[in-house]
Structures are given as C-alpha cells and as structure tokens.
Symmetry: C2
Subunit: 272 residues, 2 copies
Amino acid sequence: MLTIGQLAAYAGVTVRAVRHYHQIGLLPEPERDASGYRRYGATAVVSLIKIRSLAGAGVPLSQIGQMLDADPPAFAEAVRRIDGRLREEIERLETSRAQIARLATGDSLALPPEVTFFLDRLREIGASERMVEAERDGWILVAARWPGYVRDIMPGKLAQLEDPHIVRLYQVGSALLESGTGDDPRLEEIADILAGLAEQAHASGELLPDDLAYDLVDALLVEADPRSERLLALLRERGWAGWTRPERLAQPPGRPADASHAPAPAPDHRPG
Amino acid sequence: MLTIGQLAAYAGVTVRAVRHYHQIGLLPEPERDASGYRRYGATAVVSLIKIRSLAGAGVPLSQIGQMLDADPPAFAEAVRRIDGRLREEIERLETSRAQIARLATGDSLALPPEVTFFLDRLREIGASERMVEAERDGWILVAARWPGYVRDIMPGKLAQLEDPHIVRLYQVGSALLESGTGDDPRLEEIADILAGLAEQAHASGELLPDDLAYDLVDALLVEADPRSERLLALLRERGWAGWTRPERLAQPPGRPADASHAPAPAPDHRPG
DNA sequence: TGGAGGGTTGACGCAGCGTCATGGTCAAGC
DNA sequence: GCTTGACCATGACGCTGCGTCAACCCTCCA
C-alpha cells in the first residue's frame, strides 16, 4: 500500500496534482489508514499513469474521465476533437509568431509595412521624430478602421511627398512640434497650405465618407499639441472645418474662401 | 469623446477587456463625465490598438506596458524572448499532437507499440479480453518505471509465446478470470507452471532488482481478482514468494521445492 | 525526546478575460 | 411624465491545472 507521495513519485507527478485529481473526481479517493493517510493500491497507480498520459497528450482533465471509460468509437471521436483543438491552438500560436516577427522594429506595431516605409520617407524629408510618431498614430487609427485600405492609398501618399508644399508642411509642422512656444506665425503658413490642399481635393471631386476615424485623427493632433486648436481656428477662417477630411463651411466667418495659397498636385490626403 | 463601448468597438475588443486593462494598469483610467461614465480621446484609442496588436502577437499583458515604452534594443530583446516562449509552446503542442495520434487505439495508452503488438498476439493465442487488460495494466506499470526498457525485452516475451506452457498459462488464466467461481483446481496447474518458470529463471541466474514495480504488478492481479491470493499461497507451497519476480523461500512450508513440473524455455518473465 | 520529513485540510494565486448580478443613465417614443 | 431598451457602473465568481503557503498531525530515527 502506497502513500500519496510514493504514488506521485511513481507516476512522475506532484502530490498536489494527485490531490487535485481527487478533488475533481478524476481519480477516486482511496481508503484511509488509521492515521487518516490515503493508501493506494496498484490499480490507482495504473489509473494515474493513464490519466497522465492522456493529459500529456493535451486532453483537458474534464474530458479524461469520460475518455477512460469510452468504447473505441467514442474514444476515437474524442481523439479527433482533441486533435482539432490542438491544431487550431497551434495555428493561433503560429500566427502569433508571424505577428511578432513583424515587430522587429517599433514602427511596424499595428501597421502594414507600406506605412513604415512611408514613415521612413518622412524622416528623410526632414520630419522630426515627434512628427513621425504623430503621423504613425494617425495611420494606426486608419489602419484599424479600414484594414487593407491603407495599402491601396500608400502609393498616392508617397507621390505627394514629391510636392514641395507637402514637404514644407511636414518641415514646418515638425519645427512647430519641437518648439514648445505658444502662438506662432508659422501656424498661418500651415493653415494656408492645408486650405490649398483642401480646395484641391474638393475640386477634384474627392468624397470621403463621414466617419469617426477622421474625427479621431483630428483629435489626435489636438491631444498631441494643444496649439492645434489654433490651427483649426485658422482653417475655419479660411472656410474649412477639420483638416483630415475638411468640409467647406457655409459662410466663412473671417475672409472669403479661396484656393490661391497652395496648389498641390496629389489628390488624396488623410493624416499627416 | 468616446464611451467605453465605442472605444472597444473601434479597437475590436470587448468592453470587459478594456476594463480589465484599466484594472491591471495597462491602459490609464480616463476622466469621467458628469454621470460617472469613462470618456476616451483619440490617444486612448491608439494605445488600445497598440495593446491589442502586441497581445495578438502573443505578448503577455504583464509585459506589454514595458514594451510600449522600451527603446528599440530592449524592445527587440523582449521580442526575442516572446518568440522563444511561443516556439516552445508550439513545440509542446506538437508533441501533444504526436502523442494523441498514437491514441488511435485504446491499447496504446501509455504504452509503446511493441507492447500493443504483444497484446494482440496474446489475443491470438486465446487470451480473454480481461486477461489482456490485466496484462496491459501490468506493462503500463513497468513501462512507467523503466521507459525504454520495455522495448528491449519485448522480443524475448514474444518468443516465450511459442512455449506451450506459457500458452497454456494464458489460456487457463483467461478461463479462470472469466469464470467467477471461488476455488478452482486449475489454480494448481497455474501454480505448477509458474513454479517451473521461476525455477528456470533462477537456474539461468537471472537476477531482477528488488523494486516496487514488481510488488505493484503482483498487487495488480490480486486487486483484479481476489483468487490470486490463493494462487500466491499455492506458489508459496511450491517454495516461491511472489510471481512476477519470484524469490525462493528458505524452507518451503508444505512440500520440497522442485522444478519437475513445467520446464519452460524462455528466460525472462515479468508480467503476464 | 526531539527533530526531520512525511501526511492532512483550506485557501489564495496565476492569465485573460466571460459572465452574471444589481443598479444608475441616456435617448427615443408614447 | 413614463416606459423601454441599450449602455454605463462596480463587484464578484468561474475557468485550467495545479503551485504555494499556512497551520497542524503522524511516523520514524538517533
């Protein structure tokens, strides 16, 4: 007659595990000796080893009991189910590994590679690190909203970077983000460029859907730098509401809306 | 400003998950509105998406916080660690799948294929299903105690099945296991065969170690059929203690120990 | 006789949320 | 103003397979 420790050692498990199997009714409680110790016979050893070999094969404890006294067809069916579970679990982990392989660099977090390439280009034309991060976060929002769409429009975005107005926009924007002073005349220049882009997009008939994503991207810059509020006000003066997806205002409060400021060639322009 | 539900929907997670991230300090608690509702800005959306993409890549929540504000080398190192974890997890599941593939038939539970082949041979020579199961359980005990050893001795065991005495042993044993009557003259015959085998093993100088495993296999048959007690008594009369690993008694109580009953050729004989 | 090394029950902890339970809030229709 | 349904809040238990105390009892050996 074995004690629980001897039983556990023979089967290669811990005492705690054996007690657990008792608790969930997987292994029947044996008789106790005079001092209350559990005493096990050979049958218990065999049962425990069977349990362990099933558990080691990935069978959940809750099903091992049924499997141990199932007839061959039921057993085979159960085996198929377990194998299916294991397969999809492995598949999940494989995709996880694929994901994590893409995280080699910080930029690729939640973003397709096209965007990280675009961000690198931004750095090349003189965008500051903070600017690139802001841009990246904007694209994260867009990519989450329309997965796949981002890849389609990335070529257009890259082409835009050939436009000197856009380059200027990123450069001045970067300088602004870095210098923490309050009001700044450069905001006017940025507003002019943005209004020009808006005018052009409007003229080309581009129609973006009304979507929460654009509001979020707008809000993102405001949260990143409060001076963006001032920028939005300047844009409103020029007849535009919002800057990610600008809408022409009915009657501009300050001066008439015209597009003489910044003719830019590329048609679409969401974040940035 | 988004409510928790809108935030969760945008990031493709459940409300409960967002609250969980708050609870563990992964996502900072936002301001509340007048009625106590949480209100989220765009930054929270971005953070949540980042969290989800890391979690989706298999990063444990407890590490995501550090990874989000780690410098590139630390980030890369963390990525390597995660990938290692994932790899070994996958490996574990793969071996589980290999295990479960071997469970196609009930016999192969916790047993190497050599043994299941031996069990099939037993059926062929007329062993009953209960006998085969008892034999199988014995081998489970032995295989658990000395993994690998079983494969080595299986050829010898198979050879033994050519011996008519052994065949007779299994056949009479099977008949006994099936017929539930009390005392039975066939026990004498079995005892004679066993004593003969023991004598032969002893003469061949085979020396098995003193090990719990043999006691367990002995006990197994006793638990499977109480009449085995009687068999052991008969064996003792013939000068042997135990039957799996028989030891010659100092002075046989009933009659002198001789080996004239059953000359069997094969040298080793553990369970069965 | 005392200490080491077993055994006993009971309870919390882990990861990542799902799922009630119970109650307040909001927007819309009557 | 009232109801209804959808959403928000907190709090707590559940799941998986045990690990790890805590506090106490039993046995054996020097």
